[in-house]
């Protein structure tokens, strides 16, 4: 019998259809896997079930009865529990309090019943006995725990809801092997007891190990539901990618091999740090090296670390043939390294200040300027902006008066006055319009042609496939595969991203 059934559910944010048509049926006693790439509508679907997003259209049935879920409390009341990917724990409270946070046992409806709370929390804490690691106890403060232990607490909290249907949104991302094994045993036990479970993970091996059926979402539509026992990873990935998956990368393609002008621009050897480990690669002068893979697999962390804005634990970095270990962005800039972040609001834009002051900081540093003469600076700033067709009325208008795409062009222009040797692009086109993207990539290719070594991380596969000479696919903080030449296809990119290394 079906625990939960969604039919024709949709949700639009303004003009953007986040979910076009969501159909999903979860049976009692099954682990139902949801798969789809970034932005396919997977998390919107989960949020609708958990009550944090109200659908525009469609029907929801729980135990074959039509229901309306008005909010998270209503979802809980109707038997839906959720594990939040972005953990929702109270850092200054103990493990046991966090586990019982959603429904603290009370005496006389007012005072927390300490003994009952301890008893109840102990049941869930005991489930992970032996794998929860050093320092984990019922009265430990959550804020003092390791990331994997915090994730365990979040899992216990979801389990403690004892909801007939529980959604687990990437519950295993920080866990080690033994912890995952234990978690799966618990899930199997829940299955036997007739619970329904929705499971989201990007790790194909886990999906095969625990899932019964899989529903695939692409571009806001649920494509199909398959029995995992009767299918293979290739089929699933092909369905996620859609029809054009096997087409080679190149419409207006870039050459697969660059005639190496004079050696490597950037060399990274066995680099490890927070969020990435044991990464090695080389970027030739004139080459665009792509970083692919799912979000947050270490690509950004690695680029920031090279730029001196993140910690490096071991390994070495060379620019040209010289050892380069930047202590700070200031250090990196002086030695010819450039970094453009996609999060321009945080990392790039000096808000409220004139456009010209947003272009000049790098020039100040590299030319060791003390005095800022506007007329002289304008002569250097204007050509940099024009090379990207930036639209602006006056250099002295505040940068906030520009559109997002033009703001990003201003941020990139600051690197063009004194040319760097290496350009690191960290998802640079996030949230900018198509024409700005086109201008940007035209510039990037031109810079490569002029001999810069460029690293491009993009969350949009099309950008990688269309511009990178080579693509390194990241998985769990290290490179799981290198795609060269005709291998640079959408299918291969997905397969490498989803298949655990």
């Amino acid at each position: 019998m079906s625990k939960l059934k969604l039919s024709g559910v949709s949700k639009a944010y303004g003009a953007t259809l986040a979910l076009r048509r969501g159909d999903l049926e979860v049976l009692a006693g099954e682990v139902h896997v949801l798969m789809g790439s970034n932005g396919s509508g997977k998390s919107t679907l989960c949020k609708i079930i958990a009550g944090s997003v109200r659908p525009d259209d469609g029907r929801i049935l729980i135990d074959d009865t039509p229901v309306t879920i008005t909010g998270p409390r209503s979802a809980r009341a109707q038997g839906i529990g959720i594990f939040y990917q972005e953990l929702s724990l109270a850092a200054h409270r103990t493990v046991e309090e966090n586990v019982c946070l959603a429904a603290l046992p009370a005496k006389a409806g007012l005072f927390v019943d300490r003994t009952a709370l301890k008893e109840r929390a102990a049941r869930y804490i005991a489930l992970f006995d032996g794998v929860s690691g050093d320092g984990f106890s019922a009265d430990a403060l959550v804020g003092n725990l390791r990331p994997d232990q915090r994730q365990l607490v979040e899992i216990m909290k979801a389990l403690a809801s004892e909801a007939p249907l529980i959604i687990f949104d990437e519950p295993t991302s920080a866990l080690d092997r033994a912890q995952v094994e234990r978690f799966f045993e618990i899930l199997r036990d829940l299955k036997r007891r007739g619970r329904g479970i929705i499971f989201i993970s990007h790790r194909m091996d886990e999906i095969k190990a625990i899932g019964d059926r899989v529903t695939i979402i692409r571009d806001g539509e649920t494509i199909t539901t398959l029995n995992l026992g009767e299918t293979d990873a290739g089929t699933v990935i092909r369905l996620m990618v859609g029809g054009a998956g096997d087409m080679p990368a190149s419409q207006s393609s870039v050459p697969a091999v660059v005639d190496a002008k004079d050696g490597a621009a950037l060399t990274v050897r066995n680099l490890s740090g927070a969020g990435f480990r044991n990464v090695s690669f080389e970027v030739a002068r004139g080459e665009i090296l792509g970083f692919g893979g799912l979000h947050g697999q270490g690509q950004s962390a690695l680029l920031r670390a090279i730029f001196g804005a993140g910690a490096v634990a071991s390994g070495e970095i060379l620019i040209g043939s010289e050892r380069f270990d930047a202590a700070s962005p200031r250090d990196a800039i002086r030695r010819g390294c450039a970094y453009v972040s996609g999060d321009r609001g945080r990392d790039g834009v000096i808000s409220g200040r004139p456009i010209i002051e947003n272009v000049t900081p790098i020039h100040y540093l590299r030319d060791r300027l003390m005095i800022a003469r506007p007329s002289k600076l304008s002569d250097r700033v204007a050509p940099a902006l024009e090379s990207m067709h930036t639209k602006f009325a006056s250099l002295f208008h505040p940068i906030n008066s520009l559109s997002g795409g033009n703001q990003q062009k201003v941020i990139i222009a600051r690197w063009l006055i004194d040319r760097p040797d290496v350009l690191l692009l960290d998802d640079p086109t996030k949230g900018i319009d198509l024409s700005a993207k086109a201008d940007l990539f035209a510039l990037i290719r031109q810079l490569a042609a002029e001999g810069l070594g460029i690293v491009l991380y993009s969350s949009e596969d099309a950008e990688l496939l269309g511009n990178a000479n080579r693509i390194l696919v990241f998985n769990g903080g290290s490179v799981s595969r290198e795609l060269i030449g005709a291998d640079r296809t959408r299918y291969n990119l997905y397969q490498a991203a989803y298949e655990a290394a």
């Binding site: 609001g345 945080r346 000096i350 000049t360």
Partner: protein, 318 residues
Amino acid sequence: MSRITSFLRQPIVVALILIVLLLYLGELLSPGFASGAQILRLMIVASLLGIVAAGQNVVILGGREGIDLSVGGVVSLSAIIAGNVMNGADGGILPAIAACLLAGAFFGLLNGLGITLLRIPPLVMTLGMLGVLQGLLVVIRMGIPSGQAAPALSRFVTQPLVLGVPGIIWLWVAIGILMAFMLNRTVFGHRIYAIGSNEHAAYMAGVPVRLMRIALFMISGMFSAIAGLCLLGYSGSSFANVGEQYTLTSIIAVVFGGTSLAGGKGGYTGTMAGAFLLVILQGILTTVNIDESGRQMVFGATLLVLMMFYGRGRAMRA
């Protein structure tokens, strides 16, 4: 039309209009209030406040809740140091200037180090420093005479120097020009605005954020020290906590002049107008016989009203 209204909305224009109105009001209450000699006298007092506010201004522009509550303590300390070093002799002026600047820079450095290295919020750090300075003042004054201003210093502050205007007002004008140049035409000035607008973006663009912030607090300490020295010249001898009033008024002058407490927005020209405006207001309150505690209440209320009008510089980050 909209040009006129947007012109009238500029803080500095508002301040200038208020200055004229208050002078007129003062003249009504007490004829002679707006006479040339009296205005010069007000400007001498305003220049003392204005010099302290210059330091407060750069600290606030630097953002991240930047504020310097220790300025009053540094002013008092500097007045005492100056008085004891020169002790009524003109020959002691240069050593006194050096000693005051050194002391101001030192306490500014301590503030800056606490805020950047120990990550203590500026409000807490400088308030603590104010407490330390006040305690230090008590200790220093035990049994030691507070010293005398050198005659040349008193002349510089109170007597006409060039074109009938006292030297301290010329000094203030010079500081105004220097500040405008620094903020608008130097890399250092642009970096102050950069860290005040978006500290992280500035860091990613190679601005030495910590060094900058330490420098700002040192500048503030040194401006307060100069003001303390001049204050000694103004009053002849120093007495306990002469600088106390400057903590609140320097912040009000900066806000009056249109500098956002959130940082990254504003300048010194407005602050100069704000300082003058406050001193006129102080004069009017004195004219109508409101005592020091009453004046402090009016100033406090003024700051709160200003905050209502200018807001705390709405969320700057887009």
